[in-house]
């Protein structure tokens, strides 16, 4: 079993913490894992990327070779497009449609739609809106994790729930609950046969 995931977004969106949730799940279910991330200056509203490699064998490289990633999770419409060359031919592209507009030349939504149209089997959602049905909008990244989880059968749903609980426990039960709901809502989208 090998499963390579690319997470992309903007500093502050929870790219690294989402990647860590995936890594913890992999560890709990007995897999090897390597999670590469970019810290430092990139945190300040810049583009952020993390890579999570899950395998039952030894993982050599921290970086995913081009054209081989099983999944891209894009927390923002253009950031995932930036790393599209990493995605395998039959890879899964999951993206939020909520833009983070902090640059002057942010592309029009039509441009984004055109690009998404080229990616077969992509899943594009208004992650914030879905999160809001479960609780606060900041759980949008967990909605995306929920969607992705449906494509990683090696990781158990119960493991995701446990790790999400552990991750948010210190913020109180309410935060735990809304994140669990966000996860379920995300996963539900895939079950719904989209």
């Amino acid at each position: 079993m090998n499963y390579d995931i690319i997470l992309a977004g903007v500093g502050g969106q929870g790219v690294v913490s989402s990647a860590t949730i995936l890594s913890r799940c992999a560890m709990c279910d007995g897999f090897n894992v390597r999670q590469s991330e970019v810290h430092g200056m990139a945190q300040r509203g810049g583009a952020v990327q993390a890579q999570v490699r899950i395998s039952d064998r030894v993982i050599e490289s921290d970086l995913v070779p081009s054209g081989t990633a099983d999944c891209i999770i894009s927390m923002e419409p253009i950031e995932g497009l930036r790393c599209l060359s990493l995605l395998a031919e039959n890879g899964r592209y999951i993206t939020s449609l909520d833009p983070v507009v902090n640059i002057p030349d942010y592309p029009e939504s039509q441009f984004i739609e055109e690009q998404l149209g080229k990616i077969s089997g992509h899943i594009a959602v208004n992650a914030k809106k879905i999160a809001q049905t479960a609780g606060p909008a900041y759980a949008a990244n967990i909605v995306l994790i929920g969607i992705a989880s449906a494509f990683i059968p090696a990781l158990a749903v119960a493991t995701f729930e446990r790790v999400i609980r552990e991750t948010f426990e210190r913020k109180g039960e309410k935060v735990v609950e809304s994140n669990l709901k966000a996860f379920a809502a995300g996963r539900g989208i895939v079950k719904g046969g989209r």
């Binding site: 903007v10 500093g11 860590t20 890594s23 913890r24 560890m27 090897n32 894992v33 390597r34 999670q35 590469s36 991330e37 970019v38 810290h39 430092g40 200056m41 990139a42 945190q43 300040r44 509203g45 810049g46 583009a47 993982i59 050599e60 490289s61 921290d62 970086l63 995913v64 070779p65 081009s66 054209g67 081989t68 990633a69 253009i78 950031e79 497009l81 930036r82 599209l84 060359s85 990493l86 995605l87 395998a88 031919e89 890879g91 902090n102 640059i103 030349d105 942010y106 592309p107 441009f111 690009q115 080229k118 990616i119």
Partner: protein, 534 residues
């Protein structure tokens, strides 16, 4: 035996803890910062001291004192930080290290957040000491542990070289039974720690005499693994560090498996290299960083055979390696994926946070520059270096920690006016104090603008070595009178007032200091959260 999901930095820190390290010093710098942050988080549990210092040199000197007292010390920094600590580092190799002294230095190939991509294996080699280069998290843990043993065995400082992709990658490590800390046991032979020529000469001799033993250790080390394939002689592969990972990632696709030497600890294992070289027609070198091994090979291999690496363009000289660049060099195909190319995406560079005090300081400077055409604004290393890019484009230089003050002084003494040096509070305390003394004593015609946000912001908000009030005392103590030493609050409401003051001090023919003091937004958020939780 615990299984832990850790950053490479944290695995290194855990290795130091389990090696019985007593004291850690360092200065924040991406990608090394998380080593100290991890140690600080667990300091109380393990009964260790883990502290930030004013800069890498004072950190290193502190570590030397710990070693002198007989205990094990770790010192952490980024690659360019070792330049600051270099005087202490190079000389410490000539002193008889007592308690193990390990420098964990994180290089930044690809310059993700650094001004260069220098390779720490060179300074380690220059100082004639040992250097470990872990390629994964378990190795970061094990090698850091072993580095302390090697340091005490050979009485030399030892380097652990990390790189960004390991420092900032997470994986699972298994820890082993920890070793107890050393008891205090001060050095007794004074000449061992004395650098006057009468002592330095025999100490240097001892360092040279240690080299064959160090080489023997490296030859025997299990970190330097040679795998010979008798039936394939066309070429052999030498890898180091993460180069080994990328090679192993793609090697399965090679039509034949070549002999392979992976180097994890230096000095380079000469005999192993010669054994490999004697069996192949050419050598391919894959190393993360400068072509360090590649250069050395030429003096080590007796019957010269072609060597391919970074110097002949076999692999890119600049930037990081990755599985793709290694695959291409080995004539292996790289997967096409979807084959969609999107070339119109706008870049999204890092930016100052909303509400950052630097915004307001830059706004004042913008007005000054509009008025005084040609003003030189030298700057420094910190969040405010973002002043170089749009929408600010206000600073004219950034070189190394503290350079803003020296450069401004030089430009002013060359006859240029007006000149403003801009530097953050942490950077000022790191390397600006000596520049301040130079500027004060020559009463040079320049303005020093200290951007005091009360923290080391760019690396994530580590505490500065002293607070804002003490900062003022230091500057006053250096001889800057109250008439030309001011504190302003960079806020939109104070804009006009602040411009007037800057204009006044620019017109003053002499040295003046303005401190623009307002807390980092991120730091305030963090500390108010901390207060709420406690």
């Amino acid at each position: 035996m615990d299984r832990l999901l850790l950053l490479g930095d944290e695995a290194c820190a855990m290795g130091a803890i389990d090696a019985g390290m007593s004291v850690a010093y360092g200065y924040p710098g991406t990608p090394s910062t998380e080593i100290m942050e991890f140690l600080q988080k667990h300091a109380r549990n393990y009964g260790i001291v883990a502290k930030w210092c004013a800069n890498e040199k004072t950190s290193y000197e502190g570590a030397m004192g710990v070693s002198y007292a007989g205990r094990r010390a770790l010192v952490t920094m980024k690659h360019v930080g070792l330049n600051v600590a270099f005087d202490a580092f190079a000389n410490s190799a000539l002193q008889k290290i007592n308690g193990g002294l390990v420098a964990a230095v994180a290089d930044d190939p690809g310059m993700h957040s650094s001004q260069n991509e220098q390779d720490t294996r060179y300074p380690a080699d220059f100082a004639k000491t040992a250097c470990f280069e872990p390629r994964n998290h378990q190795e970061a843990y094990e090698m850091t542990r072993e580095a302390f043993d090697v340091s005490e065995k050979f009485n030399i400082p030892v380097v652990v070289r990390l790189v960004t992709r390991l420092a900032h990658s997470r994986s699972i490590i298994r820890t082993r039974q920890p070793r107890a800390q050393n008891a205090l046991n001060r050095a007794h032979v004074i000449s061992d720690w004395m650098c006057i020529p009468a002592c330095a000469k025999p100490n240097y001799h001892a360092l040279l005499e240690c080299q064959p033993r160090l080489l023997e250790y490296s030859e025997q080390s299990a970190w330097n693994t040679l795998e010979i394939k008798e039936d394939f002689r066309e070429y052999g592969v030498i890898t180091t560090g993460l180069g080994g990972n990328y090679y192993c990632e793609v090697a399965a696709a090679l039509p034949s498996q070549p002999s392979h030497l992976h180097i994890g600890v230096y000095p380079i294992p000469i005999e192993k290299i010669r054994r490999l070289a004697g069996r192949v027609e050419r050598i391919v070198v894959i190393e993360e960083g400068y072509p360090f091994v590649e250069e050395k090979l030429r003096s080590v291999i007796r019957d010269p055979i072609p060597i391919q690496g970074k110097m002949d363009g076999f692999l890119p000289y600049e930037g990081e390696l990755n599985p793709d660049s290694v695959a291409r060099a080995l004539n292996l195909s790289v997967a096409h994926g979807l084959g969609i190319v999107i070339d119109k995406l706008p870049s999204r560079p890092p930016q100052l946070c909303k509400g950052c005090p630097h915004h307001d300081t830059f706004a004042v400077l913008r007005e000054i520059v509009n008025e005084y055409k040609g003003t030189i604004i030298t700057s420094d290393i910190g969040c405010y270096t973002l002043g170089a890019i749009p929408p600010y484009e206000i600073i004219d230089s950034a070189s190394c920690m503290g350079a803003s003050i020296g450069m401004a002084k030089g430009a002013a003494e060359a006859g240029y006016h007006p000149v403003i040096a801009t530097i953050g509070d942490s950077t000022f305390l790191h390397s600006g104090l000596t520049g301040l003394v130079d500027a004060v004593t020559s009463n040079v015609n320049m303005l020093l603008l200290i951007l005091d946000n009360g923290t080391t912001a760019m690396t994530g908000g580590q505490d500065t070595i002293m607070g804002s009030e003490q900062l003022v005392s230091i500057i006053r103590g250096a001889g800057v009178g109250p008439k030309h030493l001011h504190t302003i609050i960079p806020l939109p409401a104070n804009h006009e007032k602040n411009v007037v003051l800057l204009r006044k001090e620019l017109n003053y023919e002499g040295f003046s200091v303005i401190i623009a003091r307002r807390g980092c937004i991120q730091h305030l958020k963090k500390s108010s959260k901390g207060k709420a939780a406690s």
